[in-house]
Symmetry: C2
Subunit: 231 residues, 2 copies
Amino acid sequence: MTRTLYDLAAADPDVRFSPFCWRTKLALAHKGLEIETVPWRFADREALAFSGQARVPVLVDGGSTVFDSWRIAEYLEDAYPNRPSLFGGDAGRGVARFVNSWADLVLNAGLIRFVALDILAALDEKDRDYFRRSREERFGTTLEAFCAGREERVTEFRRSLAPLRATLSAQPYLAGAAPAYADYIVFGSFQWVRSISAFEVLAPDDPVALWRERLLAAFDGLAREAPRAAA
Amino acid sequence: MTRTLYDLAAADPDVRFSPFCWRTKLALAHKGLEIETVPWRFADREALAFSGQARVPVLVDGGSTVFDSWRIAEYLEDAYPNRPSLFGGDAGRGVARFVNSWADLVLNAGLIRFVALDILAALDEKDRDYFRRSREERFGTTLEAFCAGREERVTEFRRSLAPLRATLSAQPYLAGAAPAYADYIVFGSFQWVRSISAFEVLAPDDPVALWRERLLAAFDGLAREAPRAAA
């Protein structure tokens, strides 16, 4: 069976940086499901027209077309119940959604202020105007102003990770002794930054950084071996 | 079997306001376990000396003495595996710890700035000096300065609940279709405020407030019927 994931790409089609697509790629790896990824740019509206979507990830799994990283995770869990579980049951699934909301609304909102200009620089030429215009409208300022002073702001950002740090100081993964989807949600955000920017958002001795190392090594180094944008 | 919980009390011994003790009381109710609570004040060091602890909750369950709300939840889950699960499995337990850390480090840190003076006013006379001194040292300012302008600050606080609100807009409980320990963790914080203060931290149409209503009604109104400090 063909299984295809539309995956956000930079100018270098091998640089895949979307945090949401990374969540999905790690979920697929957790389930042990083979995948073909298709590099996709923001401008490639026609390529996704079949799905009714304008954003990735979009997964085509045989006859099923599924979009939105959270919905894809739920789809994979329900369609492949005999593969390793992403949630560990209904309560685990429910609480993972809180992690998903925290990553979307707190973590990613913090990280984008470090990498928005690096994303712009790495994008394909045809995506740059769209990215600048849409993000400057969202942020209410220029990308340059939005990202200014990141070296000074990183300390405050690290403080915002306190709940993550406390959890990962007490146990090796968000899901406990072994990683599951809650880990892939949050890791996807750090892999986003790592894929597109040379800026280091974590101190090397941060328990969050040590956890990130463990997930970079997971699935035979799936994330570690992924190409990164040139600095 | 006697099962006893040492439970933080105000001057009125029936007003029990600790967010951590509320986590435990709801966990015990979820497990369907009968409990006798003992009102405890900060000054009652001797009453806890047997446990080696200076803080509550402390649970004495037959021959077991367990302290710290998280450890008590794990104890109850492991000691009573045939009762309704608090975590729904290992992954759910792992991710619930992230919720626990978020509640401790973000939610409670936000809420204390609304209620610290109300707590002081409601405490037993013998606890007031300790509370003021220890909290002013922790906060680096007077309780009066710490709590000033709460009407103006509540809008920003409500914004900090965005991950909670997004989750509870998508599903009825943090744990999904039915409540579990992740819900009791966060609810305990709101019940803390409700027990000790007349200040309303949520807008009535907030999905978080609607979820709080559902948990106030849970277990035959266990939390709703609990005495509150006089305004």
